[in-house]
């Protein structure tokens, strides 16, 4: 699909394909997480209502999870190279306190993704992979019967742990999106302002504004 040419005071951040996949993942995540959390802790069992009650939640959760994993795979794999940690990222991570306290000027320049985003990316990829594998083992209807009960129990723990990490990461992700103003439009409209790029991802900003950047 053709991406719109952004206005001159804007930079393209996320292509349409990326944005669509992201939101597919997001929607799937909400349902998977809600139904998963509902089965995880009785206090959250009410969340099964989101998918039409307990049996529907149990029935749909693995399908939703599978859809999420597929969409996420399509979304995340092309971003693999961009999310490699660099030497600068380590400094960024060392100065997490400055990140939290909004002292961004003390942080090294970030590329398209800063170190926090990269860690999030890696964690998410790992969690989704683990969730997919353990989820298949836990999928009683089709698969659990083929595995020893010990393996299934281990998978249950892995699934719960990975889900916890993923939800945790997602909370951080959402918090960051709310916190860093101008980010949400990147994933909705696909573009960011020059100032946003300049402030939060200066290295990327430079790259994008270099003549050879091919714009």
């Amino acid at each position: 699909m053709a991406d719109r040419i952004p206005a001159p005071d804007l930079l393209p951040r996320h292509a349409t394909r990326e944005r669509l996949l992201h939101w597919l993942v997001a929607v799937a995540f909400v349902f998977a997480a809600a139904s998963g959390l509902a089965l995880f802790h009785p206090a959250l069992f009410f969340l099964t209502n989101l998918l039409g009650g307990g049996p529907w939640s149990a029935l749909l959760h693995p399908f939703v999870g599978l859809a999420m994993a597929l969409a996420f795979g399509l979304f995340a794999l092309p971003l693999w190279e961009l999310n490699r940690l660099t030497a600068g990222d380590r400094i960024w991570l060392d100065r997490l306190r400055d990140v939290v306290d909004n002292r961004d000027e003390r942080l090294p320049e970030a590329g398209k993704y800063n170190a926090g985003q990269k860690v999030l990316y890696i964690a998410t990829v790992a969690c989704v992979a683990l969730l997919l594998l353990s989820g298949l083992l836990l999928w009683r209807r089709y698969f659990s019967g083929f595995f020893a009960v010990g393996v299934v129990r281990f998978a249950a723990v892995v699934h719960a742990l990975a889900a916890f990490v993923l939800v945790f990461a997602t909370i951080v992700h959402v918090a960051a999106a709310v916190w860093v103003k101008g980010s949400i439009r990147a994933m909705t409209l696909g573009t960011v302002t020059l100032g946003w790029a300049y402030k939060h991802h200066r290295a990327w900003f430079r790259e994008m504004t270099r003549p050879s950047s091919g714009r």
């Binding site: 939290v100 009683r140 209807r141 659990s144 010990g150 299934v152 939800v167 100032g195 939060h200």
Partner: protein, 301 residues
């Protein structure tokens, strides 16, 4: 609470206490299966199917006497036959009626995510309430005895109820009622332990030095117990677990992990929000936009 004997002691996926005022009113009951009296006639299987209106498939013979071959959603109890040659060279045909053990510490109930789908009554019966079952199969992962089965028809989990419906009105379970040799008996757990002790004395007089009662402590004891000729080797009886217990994985998964994880997520969300309130947004202001413009013009130069 309709029937006092069915007062609920534990309820799956429920964080509050069950009604506890009448806790002492009901005694613990147990079924005692004496494998040394059992002839493997399968009358109990038939009685179970009749009372519970279950009709499993007409299967096939796989070269053993085990039919149906395994527990299913429609076969809540099956006989398992094992041929064992003892060290003296004599053959023993060890026959065990398999089914739910009604653990005092039930792994299924612990694992079950659906409130009230699995309950434990004050009399010790662990019962599945299929109307609350969501078909996730966690009970199977939780069970140390591999007992629950999910029906292909309705996607609900089923297992022996210890005829909770009969017991509630003062009857014995259907299998007990029908057992022709008296190998299955039913009564207070205390009485059953007493009877078993008497059987053990008799068995020892017949050369079964390791005869004993199977009431494994690892699951807090069970409300279905076995008299075994070889209590030291329960595995001889088609893999009856030697030390059954609720798996550490299940304990972790459905124990400490729950509050910790939930707490962790709440803390994360709260921390994010409070920090936002504290330090305000990260925002590219007009200065940044101008600086960006300048930088861009330079490179465009």
């Amino acid at each position: 609470m309709a029937l006092q004997s069915l007062d609920i002691k534990q309820r799956s996926a429920t964080t509050t206490s069950p009604p506890g005022v009448r806790a002492e009113a009901t005694v613990e009951l147990a079924k005692l299966i004496d494998t040394t009296k059992c002839i493997g006639c399968k009358a109990c299987q038939t009685a179970c199917m009749e009372w519970n209106d279950l009709r499993d498939e007409v299967g096939d013979c796989n070269g053993t006497y085990d039919n149906p071959r395994d527990l299913t959603a429609e076969s809540w109890t099956v006989m398992r036959f094992a041929e064992y040659e003892n060290p003296k060279g004599d053959l023993e045909w060890l026959i065990r009626k398999d089914g739910c053990m009604h653990c005092a510490d039930p792994g299924c109930l612990k694992a079950c995510p659906s409130p009230g789908a699995i309950v434990q009554y004050a009399n010790g019966i662990v019962d599945f309430h299929e109307e609350h079952c969501i078909g996730c199969g966690y009970c199977i992962a939780g069970c140390p005895f591999d007992v629950p089965r999910i029906s292909k028809k309705d996607n609900k989990a089923y297992k022996c109820t210890l005829c909770s419906d009969r017991v509630a009105v003062g009857l014995e379970p259907a299998c007990v009622k029908t057992c022709p040799t008296g190998a299955i008996t039913f009564g207070t757990k205390q009485q059953m332990q007493h009877d078993a002790a008497e059987r053990v004395v008799d068995l020892k007089s017949r050369g079964f030095e390791n005869a004993g009662l199977y009431d494994p402590a690892g699951v807090g004891g069970t409300h279905v117990m076995y008299v075994l000729h070889h209590a030291d080797q329960p595995g001889l009886y088609n893999g009856l677990p030697e030390r059954p217990h609720v798996s550490a994985m299940v304990r972790l998964w459905k124990g400490a992990a729950k509050p910790l994880a939930l707490g962790g997520l709440l803390v994360a969300a709260l921390a994010g929000w409070l920090n936002y309130v504290r330090v305000g947004p990260k925002e590219a202001d007009a200065d940044d936009e101008r600086a960006a413009e300048r930088a861009k013009e330079r490179t465009d130069g």
